[in-house]
Subunit: 230 residues, 2 copies
């Protein structure tokens, strides 16, 4: 457990899909397609509620619901089919309103920030390039940690990369998995509705605040106690 | 206002997209594509929350958010582009779990039911054909009434077609627009989570019950007071 320090400069750790980039629905439909290619019928809304959690846990939950194991090789094939679907839909994906402006504002204010995503390097890179972020932006992807969300590993690695204690970080995310991982990391969660979760669903996981999207968060940075110290 | 009668045989009025057919996310992405073709950038989650309401009201809300009128012909072009997008995605659309079984069970129990959708005939027909329903099933589409949801017109027309008072009907839908239209029709709303709304969002509109999907509703028909009188 990290001990919060009396700091005027909290850092922000951002989830990527649904938080900075409007890509959740494309991820959801790519999963549907991938699952069907393995003979698994799963309704789209149920997939939506699992987006952002570790792929391994998603498959474990799926096996529980199906009542049998998926068999060897299925996880790799599903992952590859999902990535293929996302890359095919990449031309439909846009940055969320205010995302670029929010990140640029934080940078110009001297506030530290990083990106931590349950997504794989392969699908995260093309969406990161839409955000016009500096090439030295700290980015933690699924490939770099042992466990993805709701484990705290991604956010702990991101805070360490920034040299800021987790207790001095806000975790900004659109899914309940981000909010749960934030709590386990000892950070404060900030929920965004831009991934399609209902407000009350996010609020049940105990975030510090819930905003519509990055533009709404940018307009309310003062509520986080983030000051322009220039 | 209809006066409920002491009836052991309530009727069911079903919404289509997100209620019987797993098509909401395809509708959402088709709207995004259509809006962008008119130069309008709107985040996907905001479109999701408008799905199922009247297209005219959707555009009016959009004009309010954009701060200007869309201009003449835009509504027709948007409608056509959206329909084209849905038809192009039709091969990804599936019946929701339990939908066919639920409708077949109601028919075999002698319970009256109908379908009432804010969708246009053009996009509704191909999805209806996935449900294996009798050709004489009463179906009310957008084209047949003056105002779509959340106005009560669609459900009032459906109950009239069945010869059942609205107060003796359950309206089954996945969106808050269904639940609002149900209340205005004087019918009881049954919410389904299969369209991707959060449970609490649906519950706030005052439905009688909320279930996961058609399969879950089928397993709990007794809770609606629907008895097999064969």
């Amino acid at each position: 457990m990290s001990t919060p320090s009396p700091s005027a400069r909290p850092a922000l750790l951002f989830d990527l899909d649904g938080t900075l980039v409007d890509s959740v629905y494309q991820h959801v439909l790519s999963w549907r397609e991938a699952l069907e290619s393995e003979g698994i019928e799963l309704a789209v809304w149920r997939i939506h509620r699992r987006i952002g959690m570790s792929g391994g846990l998603f498959l474990k939950a799926l096996e529980r619901e199906l009542g049998h194991d998926l068999g060897s090789g299925a996880a790799e094939r599903l992952g590859a089919a999902h990535a293929k679907g996302v890359l095919a839909r990449m031309n439909q994906i846009r940055p969320l309103p205010g995302a670029k402006e929010l990140l640029a504002t934080l940078t110009s204010m001297g506030v530290k920030w990083a990106i931590a995503t349950s997504g794989a390097e392969k699908t995260a890179r093309p969406t990161l390039s839409m955000l016009s972020i500096p090439p030295d932006t700290p980015v933690i992807t699924r490939d770099q940690v042992a466990y993805a969300k709701p484990n705290p590993d991604l956010f702990l690695a991101a805070s360490e990369r920034l040299g800021v204690l987790p207790g001095d970080c806000f975790v900004v995310g659109d899914s309940i998995w981000d909010m749960l991982a934030a709590r386990r990391a000892g950070a404060m969660g900030i929920g965004l509705l831009s991934g399609g979760y209902g407000k009350e669903e996010l609020q049940e996981t105990g975030p510090y605040r819930v905003y519509d999207d990055p533009a709404d968060l940018l307009a309310h940075l003062d509520e986080l106690g983030i000051r322009d110290a220039r």
